[in-house]
């Protein structure tokens, strides 16, 4: 051992409890602002299209990850997407068991790079790759312009 003496009395170990006080606001940015306005006001899901390489991005980006060009064009997503991967979660963030397991999915849209990682509003046995789904939105007037305006995706 590297220390000459070591404590062997477990009752003597001391610690100081602490936490990090760190609150933030996260700026949606120009692309996020437009996406969330469209979602809140018109119930539309929008992506962007790079005029250089043609890649269509969702969530929308104002700069293309492939060719690094500025992106200006906006396009609406198809109504239906496809579940690319699914997961049934049985525990909450604090580690406690959920009484009703919740389904999560990676939802893809034809012609778009990206998609949404979101809740699938189906019973666990139906949550699997290949399922065709649509966004289920909160009612107009209750939407605030955030990703939580989408309640989830369901067939």
């Amino acid at each position: 051992m590297t220390f000459t003496e070591r404590t062997t009395d477990a009752r003597s170990f001391r610690h100081w409890p602490g936490n990090v006080e760190a609150d933030y606001i996260y700026t949606s940015g120009i692309a996020g602002e437009r996406f969330f306005r469209e979602l809140r006001d018109h119930g539309r899901l929008m992506g962007t299209r790079c005029s250089e390489c043609g890649t269509q991005w969702v969530p929308p980006k104002l700069f293309c990850e492939e060719c690094f060009k500025e992106v200006h064009d906006w396009v609406e997503l198809p109504r239906e997407g496809t579940v690319g991967a699914a997961c049934i979660v049985g525990v909450a963030l604090d580690g406690s068991r959920l009484s009703a397991p919740e389904a999560w999915g990676l939802v893809r849209f034809a012609g778009f790079r990206g998609g949404f990682v979101h809740r699938l509003l189906v019973t666990p046995d139906r949550a699997r790759a290949g399922l065709r789904v649509r966004a289920v939105l909160k009612p107009e007037g209750t939407r605030t312009g955030a990703i939580t305006d989408i309640r989830g995706f369901s067939p």
Binding site: G90, A92, L93, G114, G115, P124
Partner: protein, 383 residues
């Protein structure tokens, strides 16, 4: 100029370390490594590198807190916000560029001081698009496992085989925290908390510290131990968002391996190594990483796990140390831990785990959820 590892210091990994502060844990690891190399850090080291993430440490600007416990006060030092292999790459560059002859690389985990680790993982998710949805963040691993198994053709039984193999071999590793006689059946029946990902598919956090002493060839020859040469090293990140990354094949591992293989002149990875240590923070990750590193053909890693090809004495002994599943997840120290395990094998000093004729090894790291970053190192002895 060749660069070699000449000092290996690993503290035994443990679920908790109530008697040590994190600084004392680092001092413990450093003393072991300096004794192994036979050096005095106050006079023999040109540069010190630590690898850490502030949120894992629990305080800000970690690099301000590091010099004293490494013998590095008033000496050049910096922190890499990444995995240990990324820090090791920095050491190689500093030595090859002539900035230093001897460099110390350190990383540790005092995970038992973290009371809300899941919250820290959730905090790694995008704050606009992902985190507001809540949920236990291991859904990211569950989704990836689902995408990988279906996309590659591997099966969940193969993942259970990985769990059993790594937990059992860890019984022979004196530093492992979680060695146990876990069977495939047990693994396959453990609670499906993030189905298809099960409880036993996930590694458990551990405390531990790894310190390596790295030296250029001339300095290395004068050290006490046989140098383990870093023949190649690489690092990479996948597309940064959950939505755009590749969920079947981990691009970060493929790209890091390409870089390391290019430097080490490895052309046929599947036939080039006597040992592999690849990240297994989740069981499916071991299979995914083996295929990304071209150590297994696409869709065949699971079969290798099932058939014993990955066991000691198999075609490509993999994670015979016990990996993260068996030894414990030591966060940013995970990559350095596996480098240390491979170095001991290459030196013939791996005790009960020692394999015959280990001349060349490949080591791969992943930074853990929800990251898509990691490194690869090719290590060898002789010539």
């Amino acid at each position: 100029m060749r660069v070699g590892i000449v000092g290996v210091g690993v503290t035994p990994f443990r679920p908790t370390t109530p008697e040590f502060s994190w600084k004392e844990l680092m001092y413990d690891g450093a003393q072991r490594s300096y004794a192994d190399a036979g050096i005095d850090p106050r006079s023999d080291v040109g540069s010190f590198i630590t690898c850490a993430e502030d949120y894992y440490e629990g305080f800000g600007i970690f690099d301000e807190f590091t010099p004293d416990q490494l013998g590095a006060v008033l000496r050049p030092m910096h922190t890499v916000g990444g995995d240990g292999i990324q820090g090791l790459a920095n050491a190689v560059m500093q030595i090859r560029s002539g900035l230093a002859d001897v460099v110390v690389v350190e990383s540790h985990s005092k995970a038992s001081d973290i009371l809300t680790f899941t919250g820290i993982v959730a905090h790694g998710l995008d704050p606009i698009w992902n985190k507001p949805l809540g949920g236990h963040p291991n859904y990211v691993a569950g989704l990836e496992m689902d995408a990988f198994l279906r996309g590659s053709g591997n099966r969940s039984e193969d993942c259970a085989a990985v769990v059993a193999a790594n937990r059992q071999t860890a019984l022979l590793n004196p530093i492992a925290a979680y060695g146990a006689r876990v069977t495939k059946e047990q693994a396959a029946k453990s609670p499906a908390l993030w189905a298809p990902l099960r409880q036993l598919d996930a590694s458990t956090l551990a405390d531990g510290c790894v310190v390596l002493v790295v030296a250029g060839e001339a300095a290395a020859r004068k050290m006490r131990s046989e140098p383990v040469w870093i023949e190649g090293i690489g690092w990479a990140s996948d597309s940064p968002s959950l939505e755009t990354r590749d969920w079947v094949a981990p691009a970060y591992a493929t790209l890091a391996a390409e870089m390391a293989y290019r430097l080490a002149k490895v052309r046929d990875p599947a036939r080039s190594f006597d040992l592999a240590e690849v990240d297994d923070k989740f069981s499916y990750k071991e299979l995914q990483h083996l295929e990304a590193l071209r150590l297994a053909r696409k869709g065949h890693a699971g079969k290798m796990a099932r058939s014993g090809d990955l066991a000691a004495g198999g075609k490509l002994p993999t994670n015979v140390s016990g990996g993260s599943l068996g030894c414990g997840n030591v966060l940013e120290a995970s990559g350095l831990h596996r480098v240390a395990e491979a170095a001991l094998q290459l030196r013939g000093e791996a005790g009960r785990l020692q394999l015959d004729g280990v001349r060349r090894a490949v080591v791969q790291s992943w930074r853990g959820l929800p990251s898509a970053s990691g490194g690869v190192a090719v290590l060898g002895v002789g010539r």
